[in-house]
């Protein structure tokens, strides 16, 4: 048999689930340690930060609300890139990545909605308003749930991969809508104060804890995502092996 593995690059070699399992197994302990360490530093900085002159102590909710909202959007972007991988390159791990990111993204979106609500009650005087930012994030939450349901709707995960990838890409239109909703419409939610063309408008005493918490949340996401991807590869292996075993019995009978 001719050897087709010679021209394989580093990224292509990752397409081999066995190699991915070996590599992710080596990376995970360091990634998890970095996540725990940055979370500990971030939490310390969040509670060492001064109280806001208007928000008082509730400003501390911002240190977990804003990173959760960023991660809610980043996770969907990871799913959209993975979907391109499924549709264009048929990368065997792209669908595994998209499927396993959805529940994690749903958790971060849920947290951004919940902590936002818990901040809104004392600061705005209301738990919830149907303004453009809150509504578009709520739509993102529903999309995560819908994609989770679609991925589980079919017995064979490979059959669910393509429709789920198409739906994920169609739903990506919501991400710029979320980001710019505070500029396009008159929302109760405040406009961007960190990622702005003219630089952040937050005082460093609050900006730094926020950024460290954002790094911690990002590391937490990638740790959980890698773990969930490994689980999904094992789940598919078990399914394949059971099918093979059943076929072997069928042939033997």
């Amino acid at each position: 048999m001719s050897d087709t593995t010679i021209s394989q690059g580093w990224f292509t070699s990752l397409a081999n689930p066995t190699r991915f399992l070996a590599l992710s197994g080596r990376i995970l302990p360091y990634l998890a340690a970095a996540a725990v360490l940055s979370l500990a530093i971030g939490l310390y900085m969040s509670f060492a930060a001064p109280e806001d002159y208007q928000q008082g102590v509730t400003v501390r909710i911002m240190f977990i609300h804003v990173p959760a909202a960023w991660l809610a959007m980043m996770c969907y972007s990871v799913m959209a890139i993975s979907s391109i991988g499924t549709l264009v390159w048929r990368h065997p791990l792209a669908d595994v990545s998209a499927k396993t990111a959805a529940p994690i993204g749903a958790a971060f979106t849920f947290l951004s909605l919940l902590t936002g609500s818990l901040w809104g009650r004392p600061m705005w005087g209301t738990w919830w308003v149907w303004d453009a930012r809150l509504t578009s994030v709520f739509v993102l939450f529903l999309m995560y749930l819908g994609l989770m349901a679609l991925h589980r709707a079919m017995d064979d995960p490979v059959r669910a991969a393509r429709p789920a990838a198409v739906l994920t890409l169609v739903g990506f239109i919501n991400i710029p809508i979320i980001k710019f909703s505070v500029d396009w419409w008159n929302t109760l939610h405040q406009p961007a104060s960190v990622i702005r063309l003219d630089g952040p408008t937050i005082h460093p005493s609050m900006l730094y804890p926020l950024l460290v918490m954002a790094i911690a949340y990002t590391l937490i996401f990638f740790t959980l995502h890698l773990m969930a991807m490994r689980n999904e590869i094992w789940r598919r292996r078990v399914q394949t092996m059971r099918r093979q075993a059943a076929q072997a019995i069928g042939r033997g009978a």
Binding site: T18, G56, V57, T58, R60, I61, I64, H65, A68, P103, I104, A107, F110, L111, L114, T115, L118, W119, R121, P122, I220, L224, M227, A228, R230, N231, W234, R235, R237, V238, T240, M241, R242, Q244, A245
Partner: protein
């Protein structure tokens, strides 16, 4: 009316519960899948790619 500290506490508690729950689910799922793989291998079921590699 709840104090502002209560809102901060509830936010952090909900975040800890949600992320902790997610981590626990993923860890337990991984253990269950590896146990299944171990059981299949103990029964002598092999993955096709392993069988090919062994016979080569």
């Amino acid at each position: 009316m709840m104090s502002h500290e209560t809102f901060v506490f509830l936010s952090y508690a909900a975040t800890a519960l949600t992320l902790g729950g997610l981590l626990a689910m993923i860890v337990l799922d991984g253990r269950a899948r590896r146990r299944e793989l171990g059981e299949l291998e103990a029964q002598g079921v092999r993955r096709r790619s392993d069988a090919v590699r062994d016979s080569a």
